[in-house]
């Protein structure tokens, strides 16, 4: 059972977002990049499956800033091979281009299963998983929150609205878009990551020219207007608490 996990790095939304001077992109110069959260769940699910079924887990990520840390952390968690795909990736490279580039690497690895996060907050041209699946000519199921291997197939739990789960069977190899792993992504001590940095080598591969065809062109990016905002309650903690009590009382909630 060999699994490939494909991860993407995205700006950390905790930080303040600024739009570039030309108004067309988010200025990511000073933004910290982190692993896309559902991708972290995909990684966790892969390691859980490896622990249960054996086999190897390969993680692939684009060679953008901060990728080394993400790949070494994956190694410390239990991946067997770490591929850094270098190329002309800026943070806003579209998913069609990434999917084509990743598909070439995945194809060579010939895994049984490919896991990736079901979505990322900056997907403007669809999620990575379904695009990759089609370039690889494999079936795709997304919104997955549980995977059980059954020989040449696997059973997945697919989430629908309202807490409904659809149990589906898919022939391998397949691509799954993971919403959440069976258990939360494991914590790994910094010392273990440091150790991985000393003992693990990243397998660097270069992607050929990136083909971005398939995504839209953006003419303007902006932040939602302040007119649509809540009435903000100002003051110190006591003042805010008092005003909230008043509001709750007016609404008959107290």
């Amino acid at each position: 059972m060999d699994i490939v996990v494909v991860v993407k790095l995205v700006p950390d939304l905790v930080e303040e977002i600024e739009i570039t001077g030309d108004g067309k992109t988010v200025d990511t110069t000073f933004m910290r990049l982190i692993i896309n959260e559902p991708d972290d769940h995909a990684l966790e699910q892969a390691i859980i499956l490896k622990e249960r079924e054996g086999g190897e887990v390969t993680v692939i990520g684009p060679g953008v800033e901060d990728i080394d840390g993400v790949l070494f952390t994956a190694a410390a968690k239990g991946t067997d091979r770490q591929i850094k795909l270098t190329g002309d990736f800026d943070v806003e490279v579209n998913n069609h281009a990434l999917a084509r580039a990743f598909a070439n690497v995945v194809r060579e690895a010939q895994p049984d299963l490919i896991l990736t996060g079901v979505q990322a907050h900056n997907d403007m041209d669809g999620a990575l998983g379904p695009l990759m699946a089609e370039y690889l000519e494999m079936p795709y199921i997304g919104y997955v929150s549980g995977v059980v291997m059954e020989g040449e197939t696997c059973n997945v739990r697919k989430e629908y609205p309202g807490g409904l789960i659809g149990e589906m069977q898919v022939n391998l190899p397949a691509v799954l878009g993971i919403q959440s792993a069976e258990s939360p992504p494991r914590y790994v001590a910094v010392s273990k990551v440091r150790q991985a940095m000393k003992t693990v080598t990243l397998d660097e591969q270069t992607s050929s020219d990136l083909d971005r065809k398939g995504g839209p062109a953006v003419s303007r990016m902006f932040q939602p207007e302040s007119g649509e905002r809540a009435e903000m309650i100002e003051g110190d903690i006591d003042n805010i608490a008092e005003k909230l009590v008043e509001i709750l009382r007016t609404a008959d909630a107290i």
Binding site: D123, G126, I141
Partner: protein, 324 residues
């Protein structure tokens, strides 16, 4: 390419999703602007009756046993076939567990452009424009629809479901599916959500807890507030993923849609996946340290404060107010 706008009707267990009606509402002005009809695509087995209130000019109805329940692979084949035959201007799908499972594969298979997370689509003269909601709702991106047949996945927010419903049944055109033999994906069964201790969809007062709570032990702070207000706890995705609250208390895309009298969101950023689970709350209060948090765009009252300071203070004052 003609001016028609196709909309994929999503249905589960005999019910058409709100998102489907929202997309019909969004598609209508596009069809008018591009001079074509608004066409619903309804796939399934014995579900013709679901077409009766669709606000479309025409329904392409495709029936096959392999379509009895949603399958990304079978839907992909059928929709690809419909698009190739009909050559529409745009195809609207939900940014949902159904629509997003086929949008990307359709784009790659048919080599057609895809615009996702669309909140709004509108016509400016002859040009169709999209507005996508990215960065967890913190940024809107606008642009012209690509010139080829464009696939779009939509998020709710701009259109009302009622506007996509019709009192008169649309014309139904039965259409044969392509070959659906030898599929690699099969639906086995549905697993109903476990009946939890509480149905948050029916609770009048909800205290919603998000990532800002940081640790499981801190949920106690929210519990005390809930107790003081006589409400129940619910959560956004990160809290449920950590196992700190059961999935029965999840509000949002894969969770429940709630319509409480009071919705009190603490430490929730307000990403679209969560926001779409909040129906019309009469009173919506949000507390978050990040003044830019999108939750403040949907709440009625907000405070950019540290919940660890504010919530205990507020709980005390509510107790005093109730006691006095």
């Amino acid at each position: 390419m003609n001016g028609e706008i196709y909309v994929l009707i999503e249905h589960l267990q005999g019910q058409v999703s709100d998102m489907s009606y929202i997309m019909l509402a969004a598609g209508r002005p596009l069809a008018d602007a591009s001079g074509g009809s608004l066409v619903a695509m309804l796939l399934g087995q014995d579900v013709q009756g679901l077409a009766s209130d669709l606000g479309a000019d025409r329904v392409l109805y495709v029936e096959h046993p392999a379509l009895a329940e949603f399958s990304p692979e079978a839907y992909l084949k059928v929709i690809a076939d419909l698009i190739q035959q009909g050559n529409p201007r745009a195809v609207l799908l939900g940014e949902t567990s159904i629509g997003a499972d086929v949008a990307g594969t359709l784009s790659a298979r048919l080599d057609l452009p895809l615009v996702s997370l669309c909140r709004d689509i509108y016509a400016e003269g002859n040009t169709l424009k999209f507005v996508s909601q990215i960065y967890g709702g913190k940024v809107l991106a606008e642009g012209d629809l690509p010139e080829a047949t464009t696939l779009m996945t939509m998020v709710p927010g701009e259109y009302k479901a009622e506007a996509g419903q019709s009192a008169t049944a649309p014309e139904i055109v039965a259409t044969s599916p392509p070959d659906l033999e030898g599929l690699k994906v099969t639906h086995k069964q549905f697993i109903e959500p476990e009946a939890g201790d509480v149905d948050i969809a029916k609770e009048p007062i909800l205290i919603a807890v998000g990532r800002g709570i940081q640790q499981e032990m801190n949920i106690e702070i929210a519990e005390e507030l809930a107790e003081a207000l006589g409400g129940e706890l619910c959560a956004s995705r990160p809290v449920v993923d950590q196992g700190w609250m059961t999935t029965g208390r999840l509000v949002g895309k894969s969770g429940k849609t709630v319509k409480p009298k009071v919705y009190f969101a603490i430490g929730i950023s307000g990403a679209p996946e969560h926001a779409e689970g909040i129906g019309d709350a009469e009173l919506f209060i949000a507390i978050n340290t990040d003044e830019q948090a999108p939750i403040f765009a949907i709440a009625k009252y907000g405070a950019a404060a540290d919940l660890f300071d504010l919530i205990p203070a507020l709980t005390e004052k509510i107790k005093e107010a109730k006691g006095g």
